[in-house]
C-alpha cells in the first residue's frame, strides 16, 4: 500500500521565505571564505592514478627489448580500428634474434582511439599499456597518428616479471645441450 505522506501547511515564518533565505545566505557566505577546489591546470597537474587509461603506448622491457612481437591481436581487437601494424622480422645477428618478430611500424591513430584499453587487455606480450599521458595536442590529423618511435618514447620501460623470451631461449639451449626433458 502506498504510504501517504502528510504535508503540513507552511508556518508563517516559512511563508515569508525569510528564515530560509537568511540560512542560505549564511551558507554561501561561509562557502565564499572557504577553501577553493579549483586546480589551476597548466601550473598544477592532477595526480594520475596507476590504473589510469591514458594514451596507449608501447613499452620496452628492462633489458631494452621492445616487447611487441607484432602478433596483431591488438589491431584486430581494437573497436574503432585505431591501430595499424606493419609486421617485420628481427634481423639476423640481433641480440634479440630469438624473438623472431617485431613491428616494422606501429601506428595508433589517436583521433580514433577511444581509450578503451582492449589492446592492453588482449596483448599476450604485455607490450602495450594505457599510461598516464592525458594531454594530446596536435595541429593536424597526421600529427596525431603516432608512429612506433613516438609510441616507444611515450611508453618508456616497464618492469617485467616473466622475461618469457629469455626463459624460452635458455630452455631451448638447454634442450640442445641434451639434458632437457625432451
Amino acid at each position: 500500500m502506498a504510504k501517504v505522506l502528510e504535508r503540513k501547511p507552511l508556518t508563517f515564518a516559512e511563508k515569508t521565505y525569510l528564515p530560509q533565505v537568511l540560512g542560505g545566505l549564511k551558507i554561501t557566505f561561509k562557502n565564499m571564505l572557504g577553501k577553493k577546489v579549483t586546480m589551476e591546470y597548466p601550473e598544477e597537474r592532477p595526480n594520475i592514478p596507476d590504473n589510469y587509461r591514458g594514451v596507449p603506448t608501447l613499452v620496452h622491457d628492462p633489458n631494452g627489448r621492445e616487447k611487441c612481437v607484432s602478433c596483431q591481436l591488438c589491431e584486430f581487437v581494437c573497436p574503432p580500428k585505431a591501430i595499424r601494424i606493419t609486421p617485420g622480422s628481427i634481423p639476423e645477428g640481433d641480440e634479440h634474434e630469438h624473438v623472431e618478430k617485431a613491428p616494422q611500424d606501429f601506428e595508433i591513430n589517436m583521433l580514433r582511439c577511444i581509450y578503451c584499453g582492449m589492446c592492453q587487455e588482449v596483448c599476450p606480450e604485455e607490450a602495450i599499456f594505457l599510461q598516464d599521458v592525458y594531454s594530446l595536442v596536435g595541429t593536424s590529423r597526421e600529427e596525431l597518428v603516432f608512429h612506433k618511435k613516438k609510441l616507444y618514447e611515450l611508453g618508456g620501460t616497464r618492469p617485467d616479471q616473466h622475461y618469457k623470451w629469455d626463459v624460452k631461449k635458455a630452455a631451448e639451449e638447454e634442450a640442445l645441450a641434451g639434458n632437457g626433458h625432451h
Binding site: 515569508t16 533565505v21 542560505g24 545566505l25 551558507i27 554561501t28 557566505f29 562557502n31 565564499m32 571564505l33 572557504g34 577553501k35 577553493k36 577546489v37 579549483t38 589551476e40
Partner: protein
Amino acid sequence: MDIVEILLKILFAILVVVVIMTIAAYSVLAERKVASWIQGRVGPNRTALPGLSAIPVLGRFLVRMGMWQPLADGVKFLFKEDPLPGHVKKWYYCLAPVVALVPSLSTVAVLPFGAYWVNGVEYPLVLANVDIGILFILAISSLTVYGIVMAGWAANSKYPYFGSIRSSAQMISYELAMGMSVIPVFMWANGPATGFGDLTLFGVVAAQKDLWLGIWMPLPAFVFLVSLFAETNRLPFDMPESETELVGGFHTEYGSFKFGLFFVGEYAAMAIGSAVFVVLFLGGWNFLPTFGFLPDWVANPWATWGWFGSVVSVLFFIGKTLTFIFLFIWVRWTLPRFRYDQVMNLGWKYLVPLAVASIIIYAIVIALWDTAVTVDHIKPETFGPAPQ
C-alpha cells in the same frame, strides 16, 4: 546659464556616466568573482595587461583578482561579429538595447552622490537637483521595461516573447509596491522638522542625520529592497531571463555588442538601484547616524575639510552602494528562482499590502511624533535655505 556653466554640466555628466559605466563593468567582474568564490572556484584570474601586470606584487595581485577582465570582455563584445538574424524586426531589434540602457543612465541625473559645504550649509553634489527627484527616478527607471518588451517582440521568436511578457507583468506588479514603500520616507523627510516640502533626494539624506531611515523603517526598506530585486530582474526574480527555461529570455536573439548593452544596462540599473536605496534608507553619504545625542560631526566628519571632504563623501557613498551591489550578487548565487505564480503572489498578496500597511502605520506614528515633539522645537534657522 552661460556657456561655461553648460560646458561644466556636460563635463560633470560625462564624468558621472563614466563612473557608472565603470561600476557596471566591475560589477560584472564582481559577479563572476563572487559567484566563483561561493562555488569554491577561483574565477577570472588570467587576463593580464602588458606592462602593468609586470609590477612585482601588485601587478600579479591585480591579475589574480581579474582586474583587467572587464577590458577584455568589452573588447570582445566590440569586435565580435554582430549578427542580425533574418527573422527579426530590424529597427526595433536595434533600438531595444539602447532603450534598455538609456533609462538607467538618465536616472543618475537626479541622484545626489555627495555633498559640499559652504559656510556650514550642506549642498548636494548632483547633476540636477530637481524637486521631483524620486518621482523622476521611479518614472524613468520603469522605462527599462520598454527595452525588454521591445527586444522580446522584435526578436520575433517565442522564448524572448515569453521573457518580455513576464517582464512587463512583473515590473508593473512590483513598481506599485516600490512606489508605495517610499511614501513613508518622504512623509518623514518632509515633516515640519526638515521643512523642505518637496521630493528631492537631497532632502531625504539631510533628514537622515539623526537616524537612518532603514533603522526605524525596516518594513518599507524591506519592501523597497525586494521590489528593487524584481525591478532589476535579479535572481530570485529573473523571470525575463531565466536561462534554464527561456534559453536566455528577452536577449536570446542578441549577440555581441547589442547583448553587451543589455548586460551593462542590467548592471547599471543594479548600481543605480543600490544607490537609490542607500540614499533613501541608509543615510546617503552620512558617516554614521547621530541618534539625536551624539555630536553633530558624527554625521559628516568631513564637512569642514573643504573640497577634500566632498570627495570623501562621494567615496563613502560609492562604498555604501558597492556593499549593496555585493548583496545583490550574494543573493543571486544563493537563491533559486521563484516560480512565476510565486512571484506574482509575493508581489500582489504580500508586498503591496505590506506597503499599504506601512504607509498607514508610519503616517500615524509620524503625525503623533510631529505634533508631540517636533512642532514645539522647530528652530528654522538651523536649516539652510532650501537647496537650489
